[in-house]
């Protein structure tokens, strides 16, 4: 929880907590996981990461399906590394 708070407070990086709690994967409609290392929203079940724009405070997340990046198997963080995981 402390790691997430630090990301949210940094100017120009990160996504608002409000948005991260609302947004779902545009394809599966299932909840997303915030990944601080890659500044993206991840749907582990289908192995896709959606980027968050760092251009402004409260970055604009890009949830266009074609802009989602396929995550390589060894790129996926371990489950207990993520403090804002919303689904098992």
């Amino acid at each position: 929880m402390v790691r997430v708070s630090r990301v949210l407070l940094r100017d120009g990086v990160g996504i608002s907590k409000t948005l991260s709690e609302i947004l779902v994967c545009p394809l599966s409609k299932q909840p997303l996981r915030v990944c601080e290392e890659s500044n993206s929203l991840i749907r582990d079940a289908i192995g896709v990461a959606y980027p968050v724009s760092p251009y402004i405070v409260d970055g604009i997340p890009c949830l266009v399906p074609s802009d989602g990046k396929i995550i390589e198997a060894d790129d996926k963080p371990k489950p207990d590394d993520n403090s804002m995981r919303k689904d098992p």
Binding site: L23, V24, C62
Partner: protein, 258 residues
Amino acid sequence: MASLHLSFCQLAGNRPPSHRSGRLPVRCADERQALFNRIAPVYDNLNDLLSLVQHRVWKRMAVSWSGAKIGDNVLDLCCGSGDLAFLMSEKVGPAGQVIGLDFSKEQLLIASSRQHSRPKACYKNIKWVEGDALNLPFPDSYSNAITIGYGLRNVVDKQKAMKEMYRVLRPGSKVSVLDFNKSTNPFTASFQEWMIDTVVVPAASGFGLAKEYRYLNSSIQEFLTGKELEKLALETGFSNARYFEVGGGLMGNLVATR
């Protein structure tokens, strides 16, 4: 006066192009996205100029018809530079939440810049998301109201867009769809086509965008009439659908209730 909103549709499969006055056929979603990115810097000023600021009146009507109220969670799809999102923000107030979604990053950056340059406290309730109107990143029954201004005509699959809007609306809530009116009145249709050819395209050429706006007429021709929009909404599952002509019949607004 005609408002200045671009319009492109995808030419699907082997369907022959249908367009007014023998104009060029439509383009794909990628080209359309690039186009909206290109016009972003002049979009707002050109809208004011070409509609003699009437587009602001039509947008206020669209927001009123959406039924948005204080404390609501609302969406503005195909939000562009944010005109409707800002109006929705005033309707729902600081206790509410507005999400503006668009597939043009350049338009969203302008919207965000406008948000941070304006003093109204309620605008803090607006968040921007780059996304696809055909694959909305929101859960079922999330929203109390949806607006979409000059967007439905531009999506490549209007049926799918309506289904997505239906999915994310809470039961009993409304979507308000503002766009050019595809009039069944020959006089109105001719006048609209003449206005676009004689006023809109020449004005756009002053900004180096004549080519982009020349497609408006064919786009309107490929759009749905008011009756067809009502039918589409009812077939999608909306319990009620009504279409209102505004701006002397040049514009139209569909109001559909889930």
